[in-house]
């Protein structure tokens, strides 16, 4: 471990001397910066900046890095070396953060610093390669110091993982969100006025209960809450039905069912809304049919609560399914067999054993459904009508005539409180019980088939839903193949040709279609983001389930933050936080990838936590006593047992990156345009045909990617005997 400390110390110092400290306009690729390391103010290294260019505030950080090297070289006992690294490295991180936040584009950032230390000549821009590597090195040295002092079982890998997860969540989730929430307590000029939030929230539009009395609409808080409860319960019930049918019955079309449940998740949200309108809207097919055959007056029932709930159920049931399928598979058959030998019939077993064992998974699925619903923006904006929820209120506060960031921030705060409530409710229900059902003892039981009553209920819930899904997708498919939906139903391939035409010339292939640019950008950024999302989410899950440390709950909550806040708020928060030094990445591809990763890692985390609490801890311990170091244990023992969760996290990471709209709408640029923002623009221009054709292409792409991921990661081999085909019906 002291070798690692030495390597990191040297790496940090080399970066401080040999790499430009600040970010460069045209990046490192050109190599032009090498000449300017000591002479150009832009490209100078950290050392040169502090000596030649008057940026003396960098010197303490560099001194701390040097201190780490000294501590690594001295002949010290492990615990003492650890203390030394902790002091030097930790001090370095603090000094780094202090100077980075204190000095900005216009000198001192805060008024009190200005009045205390006087006007400052120098300024600084966003950090670059040198500063980043120095910071990473310092954080690594802190982790090694912690491990040397015996924290995290003396394991440097665990300490490093812990530092990585904590630091990245603090930087890319907690900071931007707190930054924008602070605006709830500031007036338009940025002055702190805590009481302003009371004014902002004390509105009848938010809290009114008039709908109970039958006159007018309720406040947006009650709307949001009621919708989220219905969506959480509904998606959990639907997801459980699908999961049970897929794993515990001999239903013949499981494969199709599995694909069907995944379809809505790979569909950009507004497409489902659009299809629902084509079907149930005022001039939709159903209404026209009713009008024509029975003379029923067309109504607008789809606009409002029913429509939004329907669309959300379509959108979020697959997430619940993905969370639950691993859990249902993980329930130990032996426990069910034990129950049956204890005079419980299949129904009793299901109700008293299987369901309670799935409780962490059910609570997780509900939590995901609930929070997805309150954070959803696309469906309420398309289908909400007069039914306002918090996320649309925030949107209108930002983009409307109001342009009131303070009000938006106050409403976002309210949204967070709701998410917080759901989070603690879930904690209470699941509690600290252990549900270890994949134990280290070989399980030779047979999975119990579902009792008939439960099977019938599951079929009755899931199959009509599946049929309805098929119908909707039929409409989406047709929408891209006719000239103008509603008026001219002539079949055509024009929309596809316009978007995806390819020309062959002497110079090679020319991607002449209008959609190719945004298509390739989307694929590239999503493909970069997905593995990082899954890795970070599962790593965080592993730390939370397997390691005991202070602040575990706080960390878990911080990851929920970015998930619970609507995409619009995240987008604005990222622009605000990363538009100015120290992290100046607005307008780059990096900020889009970061937004994808930290917005979507929560699902990987939840699925990982649910799956991991079913794996007996003694398996990890056995690996540790068999010379398996923590990363090896993770790779050879935990990951193979987590395959369903890994597939879920990868798929979700990719798919959400491709389909998300609200979070990236503020982040895209002409250079980095994304598929969804491109499609939205088409929709706004009334070009439904092209929009739907492009959406269909995205759906096909994502299906292919899901199958690829499933193929690459493979199934979990548990060595359990398979469920025999259920021959006789009772």
């Amino acid at each position: 471990m002291s070798r690692a400390a030495l390597s990191w110390s040297i790496a940090g110092l080399l970066a401080a001397v040999l790499l430009p400290w600040y970010g460069l306009e045209d990046g490192l690729g050109s190599g032009a910066w090498i000449a300017g390391l000591w002479s150009s103010e832009d490209a100078a290294s950290g050392l040169a900046q502090s000596i030649f260019f008057g940026r003396w505030w960098l010197a303490p950080t560099l001194a701390a890095s040097l201190g780490c090297l000294v501590v690594s070289l001295l002949p010290l006992a492990p615990a003492r070396r650890g203390t030394g690294l902790l002091i030097a490295g930790g001090g370095g991180v603090v000094l780094f953060a202090a100077q980075a936040f204190a000095v900005g584009l216009r000198g001192w950032n805060a008024g009190w610093l200005l009045s205390l230390l006087g006007e400052m000549e120098q300024r600084q821009v966003g950090i670059g390669a040198g500063a980043t590597i120095v910071l990473i090195a310092l954080l690594s040295l802190v982790s090694i110091g912690l491990a040397l002092r015996g924290a995290f079982g003396g394991d440097a890998f665990v300490a490093g993982a812990m530092t990585t997860v904590t630091a990245s969540i603090l930087l890319f989730t907690a900071w931007p969100i707190l930054h924008i929430l602070a605006q709830a307590f500031q007036d338009q000029d940025g002055a702190l006025r805590p009481l302003l939030i009371v004014d902002r929230l004390a509105e009848s539009k938010i809290w009114s209960l008039r709908c109970l009395a039958g006159s007018g609409g309720c406040g947006v808080v009650w709307n949001t809450l009621f919708l989220a409860l219905c969506c959480g319960v509904g998606s959990t019930v639907l997801g459980l039905s699908f999961a049970l049918i897929a794993t515990r019955t001999s239903f013949g079309f499981k494969k199709i069912l599995r694909v069907l449940t995944v379809l809505p998740i790979i569909t950009p949200p507004f497409v489902i809304g659009l299809a629902l309108i084509l079907l149930f809207g005022r001039s939709g097919l159903v209404n026209q049919l009713l009008d024509w055959s029975f003379g029923v007056q067309p109504t607008r029932w789809i606009y409002g609560f029913p429509g939004v709930l329907l669309a959300q159920l379509f959108a979020f049931t697959p997430v619940a399914f993905l969370v639950l399928i691993g859990v249902v598979e993980g329930v130990s058959p032996t426990l069910e067999e034990a129950s049956q030998t204890l005079r419980a019939n299949r129904w009793d077993t299901f109700v008293t054993i299987s369901l309670p064992l799935m409780r962490p998974g059910l609570a997780n699925a509900f939590l995901v459904g609930f929070i997805e619903s309150i954070a959803d923006f696309g469906n309420p904006i398309v289908l909400g009508g007069n039914f306002g929820v918090l996320s649309t209120e925030i949107y209108f506060a930002v983009v409307g005539a109001q342009l009131d960031y303070g009000r938006a921030a106050a409403l976002a705060l309210l949204l967070l409180v709701l998410a917080l409530g759901a989070f603690f409710l879930q904690r209470r229900i699941v509690g600290t019980r252990s549900y270890a059902t994949i134990s280290g003892k070989g399980d030779s039981g047979l999975a119990t088939p579902l009792p008939d009553a439960a099977r019938r209920v599951a079929h009755w819930i899931a199959l009509p839903w599946a049929g309805f899904t098929l119908l909707l997708y039929g409409f989406i498919l047709m929408g891209g193949l006719v000239k103008v939906w509603g008026r001219d139903y002539t079949p055509t391939l024009d929309h596809y040709a316009k978007a995806f035409s390819i020309e062959f010339s002497e110079g090679g292939v020319i991607w002449s279609g209008a959609a190719w640019n945004s298509f390739w950008t989307t694929v590239e950024l999503a493909a970069i983001a997905a593995p990082i999302t899954a890795a970070l989410g599962l790593l965080a899950a592993w730390l939370m389930v397997r390691q005991r440390f202070a602040g575990r709950g706080a960390l878990e909550f911080a990851t929920m933050l970015s998930f619970a806040v609507p995409g619009t708020v995240i987008g604005v928060a990222y622009v605000f936080a990363f538009n100015v030094p120290p992290l100046e990445i607005t307008g780059t591809a990096l900020i889009i990838v970061l937004c994808f990763v930290f917005r979507n890692m929560t699902v990987g985390l939840r699925a990982g936590v649910a799956a991991m609490s079913q794996i007996d801890r003694s398996l990890d311990e056995a690996s540790a006593t068999l010379r398996g170091r923590a990363p090896q244990t993770l790779f050879y023992v935990v990951m193979p047992l987590l395959r369903p969760a890994i597939v879920g996290a990868l798929v979700y990471g990719f798919v959400r990156a491709v389909t998300t709209v609200s979070a990236v709408v503020f982040l895209v640029t002409a250079e980095y345009d994304l598929a969804t923002t491109y499609i939205i623009l088409r929709v706004i221009n009334g070009d439904y045909g092209l929009a739907i054709a492009y959406s269909c292409a995205l759906i096909v792409l994502m299906l292919a990617v899901i199958l690829l991921i499933q193929f690459l990661v493979g199934d979990r081999r548990l060595g359990r005997r398979a469920l025999p085909v259920q021959g006789v019906r009772a």
Binding site: G154, S618, A622, L626, G628, L718
Partner: protein, 349 residues
């Protein structure tokens, strides 16, 4: 490859699981940590493994201070109560796992793993999944997996508790035979006193986070230091008696109307608790010899190899075993009990 514990304390929050224990396990011996559940024996074992780190104190393995080292960095391996076989790997992959993680090439690891499987009598089972094996076979895989690493110390955490009685006896004999053959240093945790006596060179009896007594199985059985130990190490009858010192090495113990001379150098004079081993009570028909303790048979049961009697006497109800099964005594029979001195133990109060 000895193990040395010095003043080890383990706290969880406000509760103390292990309060300041010290002991030494000599190289090539099998030492058992014995005690009732919740006595801290498993925590102690896990601290040797490095799965828990002590709150205070110092642990040495083979002369090296390992107090702050993690499980991976210590040269120990462990057989878990639940076996902890990796369900997604074949038997061979399970056994080869530790070898591969130690950086041994695949062919060599496979060869050694097969050798390990042969050592526990599981040739030809390599390609099976753990779930396709019986409990005893899974146990052997777990032992082979730990054994192939040739660790300085091998740890067993209640390894036999999931097996049936016959298999338990067989497996404990196999473990003992393996340990003797390979001269392994083993620390073994169990709550079963018979199992502990059968396999151990030394036994450390723990109670409520402390070491109650340590010694050879014979020491502990014949000279238990406390009433807890007398009860815990085999059957014994607690009786109230009077102690009178005869000389430095002997005392005279009076139980009811009988007096027995017992080798003892530490007991104080006066009233004392006396533990009487059931096999040390010789049951004769009344009136018997002069120094016998008279009593009445209260219960009698036939166990094939021997008889068990509950006998009411002036010193309390005594439980006795008697190898004479051909002429059993019936309930209500007047008897005279002769106590063998080696089965009469004065314990501290």
């Amino acid at each position: 490859m000895s193990v040395q514990f010095t003043n080890i304390v383990k706290r969880y929050g406000t509760t103390t699981a292990v309060c300041g224990i010290s002991f030494k396990v000599d190289s090539g011996t099998l030492v058992t940590l014995l005690g009732p559940s919740g006595c801290g024996k498993t925590t102690t074992l896990r601290m040797i493994a490095g799965l828990e780190l002590p709150s205070e104190g110092r642990i040495e393995i083979a002369g090296r201070d390992v107090t702050h080292l993690s499980a991976t960095q210590r040269d120990v391996s462990m057989v878990f109560q639940s076996y902890a076989l990796f369900p997604h790997m074949s038997v061979l992959e399970n056994v080869a796992y530790g070898l591969r993680r130690s950086g041994i090439a695949k062919e060599e690891a496979t060869r050694q793993a097969l050798e390990g499987l042969a050592q526990v009598g599981l040739e030809g089972y390599g390609q099976r999944q753990p779930s396709e094996l019986s409990g005893g076979q899974q146990q052997r895989v777990a032992v082979a997996r730990a054994l192939v690493l040739k660790p300085s110390v091998l740890l067993f955490d209640e390894p036999l508790s999931n097996l049936d009685a016959r298999l338990r006896r067989q497996m404990r004999e196999e473990i003992r035979e393996l340990q003797q053959r390979l001269r392994l240093t083993v620390v073994y945790v169990t709550h079963d006193q018979q199992e502990a006596m059968a396999v151990s060179d030394r036994i450390i009896v723990m109670n409520a986070g402390r070491i109650e007594q340590e010694g050879s199985p014979r020491d502990l059985y014949e000279r238990p230091a406390t009433p807890f130990l007398a009860r815990f190490m085999g059957e014994s009858n607690p009786a109230k008696g009077q102690v009178r010192r005869l000389d430095a090495a002997r005392v005279c113990v009076r139980l009811g109307s009988t007096e027995i001379e017992v080798a003892d150098s530490s007991a104080r004079e006066g009233a004392a608790t006396v533990a009487v081993r059931p096999e040390a009570i010789k049951v004769e028909t009344a009136p018997g010899s002069a120094n016998a303790l008279p009593g009445t048979i209260a219960k009698a049961s036939y166990l094939g190899t021997h008889m068990e009697y509950s006998i009411d006497t002036a010193a309390g109800t005594l439980f006795a075993t008697c190898p004479r099964v051909e002429r059993p005594l019936t309930t209500g029979t007047q008897v005279a009990l002769v106590l063998a001195p080696r089965g009469v133990i004065v314990v501290r109060d």
